[in-house]
């Protein structure tokens, strides 16, 4: 079962290490992890995607709450959240496949943000599954480098918010 944890933590040195250490120490999986400052510069938000059975999912939340640098843990499944990931990918192109690359980018809503005579740098922001699909399209084309941010997610807007 996939689960997304949105964890507000004190923006101090060492906190990332403590949270990541908790996952390895207790053999919890991390599928992806993304960290950034929030609107409050003293607070960071970690978005952690993990998976496991019901008991593991509950333990992850409880153990996160136990950490003294953790301010708040929100947890939700994929269906009740909006998630996005940013991809930067460098590919090698030639005259024969240039058109194809541009077409794929157009269909998938990706953008070519930089290029040289033989390289292109493509940017794409989408749900993780579509990012995966997009990378798959280029397997036969020649990928040079890939960088992904990991999933960012927030719970969907609700009337009760």
């Amino acid at each position: 079962m996939k689960r997304i944890y949105s964890v507000l933590v004190e923006n101090r040195s060492g906190v990332l290490c403590k949270v990541a250490g908790l996952f390895s120490r207790r053999s919890f999986n991390i599928d992806s992890l993304a960290v950034g400052e929030t609107d409050d510069s003293e607070v960071s938000c970690m978005t952690i995607v993990s998976s496991g059975d019901k008991r593991t999912i509950e333990q992850i939340e409880k153990q996160l709450n136990k950490k003294l640098d953790v301010i708040k843990v929100k947890t939700f499944d994929e269906a009740s959240s909006i998630s996005r990931e940013l991809l930067l990918m460098k590919v090698k192109y030639n005259r024969n496949n240039r058109r194809d690359i541009m077409e794929i980018c157009e269909i998938m809503n990706a953008e070519i943000v930089d290029m040289s005579k033989s390289m292109m740098l493509i940017q794409m922001c989408d749900i993780p599954e579509r990012i995966q699909l997009f990378i798959g399209m280029f397997k036969s084309i020649s990928i040079v480098e890939v960088a992904r941010t990991g999933t960012l997610a927030l719970q969907k807007c609700m009337e009760t918010d």
Partner: protein
């Protein structure tokens, strides 16, 4: 005022009486400042034992135990002691010296990333970067250590921070941390559910862990069990919550527990686990205790509930508050038959031993010792066969039973007994160890002599690492590997070297007289008991 003086002032504000430790350059400013203070220092002989001594003191006094060691090897040596305290949820503050702030990360002499290294064994840790933060950090550390689920807190203080001037020293009156607000009061809805289930139960039982002792809830707990005639079993850490010969107490559960206690737990239809982790030593198969029964799990740490077993009713809170609230509930329950059954089990399932009369029988000896001890005496068991015999045969009356239950750290008993004695010098304190565990802490005999800490020590000597030998007997068909303790010192000569009284008991014939002599005066004595090397727990 400099940082080091501020640290000492913080300890005074917290009412600390003893600091256990070992100096080194990086903690020297602190040890220099403490000379002027009424806080006593105890020079332990290896850092691990500083934490064990602080643990013994904390468990008897209910206050936070404090140790202070130097950077690098001093800090890494103390880790086992910290991990031992963490496993048993003992309140402790450990101060470590650190190299100069500007040098951190450059691998200079005696530098170790101690906050990184102890992360999974502490409740929290601090690296102090500014001397002005010292009062706040110490106030928080003592608060964190001794509230909620108790545990060790480490404060790493670079030497330049210890030497830096503070603008002003103001010790905070209270702690304000947005990330730390432990739940102590139990939820009333859940408490009412517990009462309702108890009224329905035909075969209720309560299993207590060390949490009841840590929240000082023994009186409320006993009152509740007595009010409703509920039978009690305990984990190793819960020994002493009920007096051993209390009619409602049926002994320790688990692999090494009493058969009647395990049977009672398995046959119950309602089990209340309180302040216990439901770990493998106490509950081998967690599924068994959820089958055909209502399981109520009470713990101050929400993460313990549902970690190993999923309870029917979870109840988060401090045991003392919860039993105060439970005592106010109107519950009518009737289970005379169940108690009678359990009493039968207690008698018919008592383990039968056939000791060899050529040796001291540990079981008979320990019970005889318990009966002769002061009734509020403190018994500290080490780890190994001695621990299992102690759990099975020591009789707690009004005293305490201390041991390293969670981590099972050998060598715990002597330093912990020293801490316990310092917490209350009026109490009789006895450390019981094997010849293996004794040799892990025998350097502390010097500490006992130096600081006049009259702890009594019993060594159950069988020339083996008995617990491992026993395991190899059952699992590896007597293929003994690295368990022979030949080469151990002559304990009589050793006692004489430390100017300590020595006694030896070779069989049970003179047990009576020797124990009397052992206990007669408030002095350090080492009693060697020769036990059967092939004896099994």
């Amino acid at each position: 005022m400099i940082g080091a003086e501020a640290i000492v002032k913080c300890l005074e504000e917290e009412g600390v009486e003893y600091v256990f430790g070992y100096p080194g350059v990086a903690i020297c400013p602190f040890y220099n400042s403490i000379l002027e203070s009424p806080v006593h220092t105890i020079l332990i002989r290896t850092e691990q034992n500083a934490a064990h001594a602080a643990s013994g003191l904390a468990r008897v006094s209910g206050k936070v135990g404090v140790c202070a060691v130097t950077s690098g090897p001093g800090a890494t040596n103390v880790i086992t002691g910290i991990a031992t305290a963490f496993a048993d949820s003992i309140p402790m503050v450990c101060i470590t010296g650190q190299v100069n702030s500007e040098l951190i990360g450059s691998d200079v002499f005696q530098e170790a990333d101690i906050t990184g290294a102890v992360e999974s064994f502490v409740k929290y840790s601090y690296l102090v970067k500014d001397a002005n933060e010292i009062p706040r950090i110490f106030k928080e550390a003592f608060h964190i250590a001794n509230t909620g689920r108790r545990g060790p807190v480490l404060i790493d203080v670079p030497i330049d921070v210890q030497n830096a001037e503070l603008k002003k020293f103001v010790y905070p009156e209270s702690v304000s941390m947005r990330t730390y607000k432990p739940t102590v009061k139990g939820n009333m809805v859940q408490i009412k559910k517990v009462a309702a289930e108890l009224a329905k139960a035909k075969r209720p039982i309560i299993c207590t862990g060390g949490g009841v002792l840590l929240s000082h809830a023994e009186n409320e707990f006993r009152a509740f069990c007595e009010k409703h005639d509920i039978p009690v079993v305990s984990t190793m850490m819960g020994i002493g919550v009920m007096p051993t010969r209390h009619p409602l107490y049926f002994g320790m559960v688990g692999n090494n527990g009493k058969p009647c206690a395990n049977r009672a737990m398995n046959e119950s239809d309602l089990l209340i686990m309180v302040g216990a982790r439901v770990a493998d030593r106490a509950v081998n198969q967690p599924d068994l205790i959820t089958n055909n029964k209502v399981l109520i799990h009470i713990d101050v740490d929400p993460a313990e509930i549902g970690k190993n077993v999923g309870p029917t009713i979870p109840l988060v809170g401090d045991a003392r508050h919860i039993f105060e609230d439970l005592l106010e509930q109107e519950i009518t329950c009737e289970h005379k038959e169940w108690l009678e059954t359990l009493k039968d089990y207690r008698e018919s399932m008592a383990p039968k031993r056939t000791p060899d009369p050529a040796y001291v029988d540990p079981a008979g000896f320990i019970t005889m010792l318990s009966d002769k001890m002061q009734e509020d005496g403190i018994y500290v068991a080490d780890v190994g066969q001695n621990q299992i015999w102690s759990c099975g045969y020591h009789v707690v009356r009004k005293g305490r039973f201390l041991t390293s239950g969670g981590m099972g750290t050998m060598g715990y008993s002597i330093p912990a007994a020293m801490g316990a004695k310092l917490a209350d010098r009026s109490k009789q304190v006895i450390a019981v160890c094997g010849d293996g565990s004794f040799q892990m802490s025998m350097m502390e005999l010097a500490t006992m002599r130096q600081h006049d800490i009259p702890v009594k020590i019993i060594v159950l000597k069988n020339n083996y690492l008995g617990m491992v030998r026993q395991f190899q007997h059952f699992t590896y068909h007597d293929n003994y590997s690295v368990v022979d303790l030949s080469g151990s010192p002559d304990l009589e000569k050793l006692s004489s070297a430390y100017d300590m009284k020595f006694l030896r008991l070779e069989n049970m014939d003179k047990a009576n007289e020797i124990i009397d002599e052992f206990l007669a005066k408030d002095e350090s004595v080492l009693l060697e008991c020769i036990i059967d090397p092939m004896d099994l727990v």
